[in-house]
Structure formats: C-alpha cells, structure tokens
Symmetry: C2
Subunit: 260 residues, 2 copies
Amino acid sequence: MARVIAVVNQKGGVGKTTTAINIAAALALSGTRALLVDADPQGNLTSGVGLKGQMNEGRTVYHALTTATACTEPDPFVLRTSVDRLDLIGADRQLTGAEIELVTLPQREERLRILIDPLRARYDFIFIDCPPSLGLLTLNGLVAADAVLIPLHCEYFALEGLADLVGTLRRVRASLNPALDIEGVLLTMYDERTNLGQQVANDVRAFFQEKVYQTVIPRNVRLGEAPSHGLPVMVYDPKSKGAEAYAALARELRSRPASV
Amino acid sequence: MARVIAVVNQKGGVGKTTTAINIAAALALSGTRALLVDADPQGNLTSGVGLKGQMNEGRTVYHALTTATACTEPDPFVLRTSVDRLDLIGADRQLTGAEIELVTLPQREERLRILIDPLRARYDFIFIDCPPSLGLLTLNGLVAADAVLIPLHCEYFALEGLADLVGTLRRVRASLNPALDIEGVLLTMYDERTNLGQQVANDVRAFFQEKVYQTVIPRNVRLGEAPSHGLPVMVYDPKSKGAEAYAALARELRSRPASV
Ligand SMILES: Nc1ncnc2c1ncn2[C@@H]1O[C@H](COP(=O)(O)OP(=O)(O)OP(=O)(O)O)[C@@H](O)[C@H]1O
Ligand SMILES: Nc1ncnc2c1ncn2[C@@H]1O[C@H](COP(=O)(O)OP(=O)(O)OP(=O)(O)O)[C@@H](O)[C@H]1O
Ligand SMILES: [Mg+2]
Ligand SMILES: [Mg+2]
C-alpha cells in the first residue's frame, strides 16, 4: 500500500517542486513505484518531468477536482513519465480557477483524497506537490495525505511561516484527517557559509527534533537547470551534488519506519 | 497623486516582499512619501518592517477587505514604520480566510482599490505586496494598481510562469482595470556566473525589452538577514550590495516617466 506524502510549505520558492520530482525519481530509479500529483496551478511539477501540454483534453487535476460529484476513477488522469516506475497526474493553469470553483462544491476538501485513494494499491509512494498557499488546493493535499514533507529554505521568512503551517496541520488533524503526521522537514538550498543559514537550521532542529532529515540539500545549479530539460536531476546529471543529496534523502525516507 | 504599484509574480520566492520593502524604504529615505500594503497572508511585508503583531484589533487588511460592504475609510488601518515617510497597512494570517470569504462578497475584486483610493493624495507611491498565486487577493492588487512591478528570479520555473502572469494582466485589463500597465520587470537574486542566469536574463530582455530595469539585484545575504531585524536593508546595512542595488532601482523608478 502506498504512503501518500504531501510536499507542503506556503512559503514560496523553498524547493517543494524540486523535492517532489527528485525524491520520487530517486525512489523510482531504485525500484520503488512512485506517483506524482501536481496540485499547483503553476504546473511546475508537470513541466519539470517534461509533460507540460501532454495531458489529454479534460484529463488534468483541474478536471478531476471540479466534477459535479467527487471523481472516483483516477485511471484516465495518470500519465507515464520518461522514468520507469514514475507516473504523473498533471496540472495546467486551468487549476487557478479551482480555488474559487471548489468553494461551493460538495466534499470540497476531500476530492483529491477520493480521486487518489484507489491508486494506493498500485504505488509504494504518492507525492502531492502543493502550491505556495494554505487555500483549498493545499487543504486537498493535506486531507489526501498520510504525512507531510516540509521543505524549508534556511531563511528568516521561511522560518516565520512554520508556525502558520503547524497551526494548519493541527486544524486539519482535528477535523478532516486525524492521522496526518509529519514525515519530515528537509533543509534545502542550504549554505553553511552564512550565519543566517546555520542559525535557522539550529532553530528548526530544536523545534522539530528527530523529524528533521539528516540529509541536507545544498544549493546546486544543476537542480535549477534540470527542469528546463524536463528531467529530474538524477537523470540530467546523476553525479551532481543535487542528485547525490536527493538519492541520500530517498534512502533515508525508505529507512524511516512510518510512524503510526 | 500617488502611483499605485502592485508587486506581483505567482512564482514563489522570487523577491516580491524584499523588493516592496526596500524600494519603498529607498524612496522614503530620499524624501518621497510611500505606503506599503500587505496583501499576502504570510505577512512577510508586515514583519519585514518590524510591525508583526502591532496592528490594533480589527485593523488588518483582512478586516478592511471582508466588511459586508466595501470599506471606504482607510485611516484606521494605516501604521507608521520606523522609517520616516514610510507607512504600512499590515496583514496577518487571518488573511488566509479572505480568499474563500471574498468569493461571495459584492465587489469582491475591487475592495482593495476602494480602500486605498482615498490615500492617493497623501503619498507619492503605494506598493502592494501580492501573495504567490493568481487568486482573489492578487486580483484585488491588480485592480487597485496603476501598474505592476514584476520581480523575476532568473530560473527556469520563474520564466515559465511569466506567460500565465501576462495572460492574467491582459484579462484584468480587458475587464476590471483597463489602464493597468507594466511598470517594470526586475531581475532578482541574479548570479551572472551561471549560464542559467544569463540565458533567462537574455530571454526576459528579449520579451519585455525596455520594461526590464537596468538595475539588477544581486544575491546578497544582507537582504536575507535584514527581515529578521524588522528593518529594510537600507537601514540594516546601508553600504551592502543589496542596499545599493535598491537605491539605484529607486532612482531608476523615479526617473521613468509613468507611461500613460
Ligand atoms: N537546492 C537547490 N539548489 C539550487 N536551486 C534550487 C534548489 N532547489 C530548488 N532550486 C531552484 O529554486 C527555485 C525554487 O524551487 P522550487 O520551484 O522547487 O520551489 P517551490 O517551493 O516549489 O516554489 P513555489 O512556491 O513557487 O511552488 C527553482 O527555480 C528551482 O529550480
Ligand atoms: N537579492 C537577494 N539576495 C539574497 N536573498 C534574497 C534576495 N532577495 C530575496 N532574498 C531572500 O530570499 C527569500 C525569498 O524572498 P521574498 O520572500 O522576498 O520573495 P517573495 O517573492 O516575496 O516570496 P513569496 O512568494 O513567498 O511571497 C527570502 O528569504 C529573502 O530574504
Ligand atoms: Mg512549486
Ligand atoms: Mg512575499
């Protein structure tokens, strides 16, 4: 049965999409079956794996979430990527309209969960890439997930947003998804040369303790280049520091027992 | 009369808040009267000028936007900052709820414009810091503004989002705000050592031509440190590369004739 992980942080540009693509690719390359779900209207996850514009008409996350009654048939939305054992449910900018349209639909927070639950038997991991906000799309991700992976840029504004995120997790746990757990906190674009980076990292480790992954993702330009080729960095430049870091993260993720 | 500028880009983490704070502070320090408006539930603009938690009860952007009928009395929401001639209308995380609440309110896209129009006579510039999305809060910013300032991180995903942003500007111009103009595109966190940075910068200049500011903001750790002290970088470290770049941008902004 799949472990469903929402990659979430309402702070923008902290490495959510980069993490979702590369952790899923690292797992797939080592024999695990992984599904990526793009819940962000920017569609960076979809283009980052080279599938922008490849979805069939009416087969994006937008269509799956905004049917009159919640959609229970996920198969028509699943696409294969260029990496074996790695599939995608993609998004495009039509998803921007969903935040407003969902407000008045029944089961508005549960639609993504209803859509992907039938896929749990087919994958080992399902990663949901959330947009940089705490609106209905991110809520759908939090309700569908077993746990959250929180990428964190070691900067002041990113640290400030954590309290809001933890508050949202608590509210979702209290009402819509009691089992929602924190899978882990990932330090991204880490630059140990700056005091700011070290200070924030210390604060985060003090707050989240063993939930903070040992693996830290350094700033590495190959991670920024890979999406323009529509490839995960593990395929674009397997020997790069970025690829090695995400491979180490995949090993760490697999070795952690899912807390019950 | 004030020029109202929305600082907007749905891509997260590109330097919207950092730009709004520092350009407004640079203008205020050189004698211009400026107002900052925080339209992002993260409240980074509010904390970046040291005013987090300082708003009086019921006096945040959330309250101003969600009254039964559109609010026309902005004075109770305006706070002074530690910088002379620089004021703020602040936000906190309550604003997260506004995206959903606004959906069913009358004049839902025009509420911010109705709120700040009376303040135009008191300032030379008004900057609206938008969240990383194209939802109702950003739409309110685009309807209230005369022009947009688009900070752009020279990376692939940021470039990809431009087409969506330009599409949204066109739609807002066609329906809600015909005079909406592009004030300028600002290259941020620019690292000329990487090919990716140079390639994206070339693409952006080819597309936006003279709208791209000559001033480019380099990556500078002091810009990341300043917000943790609640100070604009011009006050935190006036001799830093970041402060000098934003001072140059302020000069360039003042020298450009507002296109009519
Ligand atoms: N470790 C890294 N080193 C260098 N560049 C990185 C790294 N991680 C991500 N990037 C780049 O930084 C930018 C932000 O990353 P990304 O888009 O993954 O963040 P995000 O949190 O998904 O953003 P958003 O909030 O807009 O969804 C991208 O251009 C990406 O290519
Ligand atoms: N030129 C720069 N050099 C170094 N760090 C910077 C620079 N500009 C911004 N930063 C830092 O990068 C991070 C992102 O910047 P900022 O928060 O201003 O972006 P944003 O577009 O407002 O993000 P969001 O989409 O979440 O609102 C912040 O931690 C900020 O301190
Ligand atoms: Mg993303
Ligand atoms: Mg911001």
